[in-house]
Amino acid sequence: MSRNRFGRWLIAVPMAALAVATIYPLVFTANVASKTRHEYILDRFSPTESLRLENFASAWASAGMARYFANSVIVVAGAVALLLVVGSMAGFALSRLRFTGSRALFLGCLAALFVPFQVIMVPLARTMDQIGLMDTYPGLILAYVAQFLPFTIFLMTAYYSGIPREIIDAARIDGNTTYGVYWRIMLPLGRPALLSVGILNALFCWNDVLIALLMMPSADHRTLMVGVTSLRGQYSDDIPTFAAGVLIAALPVLLLYLFFQRQIAAGVTAGSTKG
C-alpha cells in the first residue's frame, strides 16, 4: 500500500510540473503585456501591480492589429462557410448516393489528404497568379478550402455513413429531389459533425501563417498571424505591447477552446481508432 502511494507521487509530481510548464508561458506573456516598458526593463518576472489595458489598446490601434484581425475574420469566415457547404454535399453524395466512380472519388480525396501544402505551394502560387486571384481575399479563401477540403470530406463522409438509408428513402417518397434531401434532411442532421469540423477548420485557417504569407503578401492584406510575425520587428524595444498583440491574436482560439474543447478533441481523433 505504501509503495503504491509512493508510486502515485512519483507520477503526480512530474505531471503537475508539466501542467505548470504548459500554462506558465501564457501567464508570463499576460503578465508582461500588462507592464509598462519601464517595469519590464526593471523586472520582467514580478507579478504586475495592476491590470493595465493600455498595451492592448495600443497594439490594437497603432500596431494595425485591428486591420489584421478584420482580414483574418473575413478569410476564415469565408473559408469555413465554403468548406462546410462543399464538404457536406460531397460527404452526403459519397456516403449515401451510389453512383459509378464514387469509390474512386473517395480514394482520390484520401490521396489529396497526404499531399502537404509545402509540396504544391510553388505551382499553386503560379496558378493563382494566372487566374488573377493572387493577393486577393477569394484567392486565399480558395487556397484554404483546397487545403482543408479533403479532411472535411473525410469526416463528413464518415459521419453521414452512420445515418440510415431509410430516412433518405422516406424523404424521397415524400417527393424530395436529391437536393431537397440534402437541404431538408442531411444538412440539419449533420449539425454535430458540421459544428466539430467547422470549429477545427476555423482553428486551422486562423492559425495558418505559411499559406497566408504566400497568397496575400501585401501589407494591408496581412492576416493576424502574418501581422504578429511583423510585429516583432516593429516593437523589438517595446516587448509589453508586442506581448499584448500576441495575446489579442490568441484570444479567439482561447475562447473556442474553452467552449468547444470536446468537439475539437473529437475532430482530431476521428480516423485514429477506425484505422
Binding site: 502515485r8 505531471m15 503537475a16 501542467a19 510548464a21 504548459t22 508561458p25 506573456t29 462543399v86 464538404g87 454535399m89 460531397a90 452526403f92 459519397l94 464514387s102 472519388l105 482520390g108 480525396c109 489529396a112 497526404f114 499531399v115 502537404p116 501544402f117 509545402q118 509540396v119 504544391i120 505551394m121 510553388v122 505551382p123 499553386l124 503560379r126 496558378t127 480558395l142 478550402v145 483546397a146 477540403l149 470530406i153 486562423w206 492559425n207 501563417v209 505559411l210 504569407l213 504566400l214 498571424m225 510575425t229 516587448i239 508586442f242 506581448a243 500576441v246 491574436a249 490568441a250 482560439v253 473556442l256 475539437i264 478533441a265 482530431v268 481523433t269 485514429s272 481508432t273 484505422g275
Partner: protein
Amino acid sequence: MLVAPAVLIIAGLRLYPLALGVNFSFTGDGDRNGQAVGLDNYAVLLDDPLFREAMGNVWLLVLLLPVAVAIPGMLATFIYLRVPGHRFYRSVYFFPAVLSPVIVGAIFNLLLAYDGTVNTVLGAIGLGPVDWLGDPDVAMFAVVGVHVWATFGMALVVFLAGFSTLDSALIDAARIDGASLSQVIRHVIVPGLSRTIQFVFVTTMIGMLTSMFGLLYVMTGGGPEGSTYLPEYYIWIQQGQMNRPALASAASTVLFGVMLVVGLAQIAVLRRAGRED
C-alpha cells in the same frame, strides 16, 4: 451533381499542382525559365549546404520521433489509470495544441531569450546560461522542443481515444494477478494499442515535417548559420525570397518523396502487424 465542386477544387488545386510541380522541377529558373534542364535542379540541391542541412535535420527529427511519441503515450497511460486530477491534466495538456505556431514561437522567443525565463530558472540552480536560439548546436533542439511542447497534447488525446477502445477488464485482471505497472504497459497496453501507436508515429512525423514552418519563421529564420533549416523552410526561401521556383519545386518533390516513404513505411508496418494477428 453534389460532388462536382469538391472534385473541381481538389483536382484543380491539389492534384494538378502536384503534377505541375514535378514538371517545374525539371525546368530552369531565371534566364533558363521554362527550358528543360533535366536533373540540374536536383544537382544544385545536392550541392547546396543549406539543403543538406535541411535533410540532415530531417534525420534528426526521425531520431527524436520515438521521444515525441513516448511522452504523450506515458502521460496518456497515467491519465487513463486515473492519476488524481486526470480530467484537469487532460484539458491543460491539450491546450497548446490549438495555438498557432506563430503565437507559440513568439512567446518562446521571450522565454528562451538569453536573459529570459528559462536561463533565469537554470541560473537559480547553478546551470547555464544557454544561448538557446543563437548557438548552432542547440537551436534545432530548442525549436523541436518547443514543437513537442506545442503538440504533445494532440497525440495525447489520440492515445486517450485509443485507450477508450481497450477492454479495461484485461488491465484489472492483470493487476489482480499482481502485474506491476511496467508489466501492464508492456504486455497489455502496448499490444492493445498497436494501431493507435502507429497512427501517432505517422501523424507526429508528418507534423514535424510540415507544421514547423511557423516556429522556424518566427524563432530562428533558419539560423543561426542555417542550422535550423527544414525542407519546408528551404522551399519557402527559394520561392518567396530567392525567386527560384524551379529549384523550390525540386525541393518540394524531394519532400514529397520523404512523405511517401513515411506513408509506405506505415503500410508495411500495418501489413506485418496484420499477419501477426
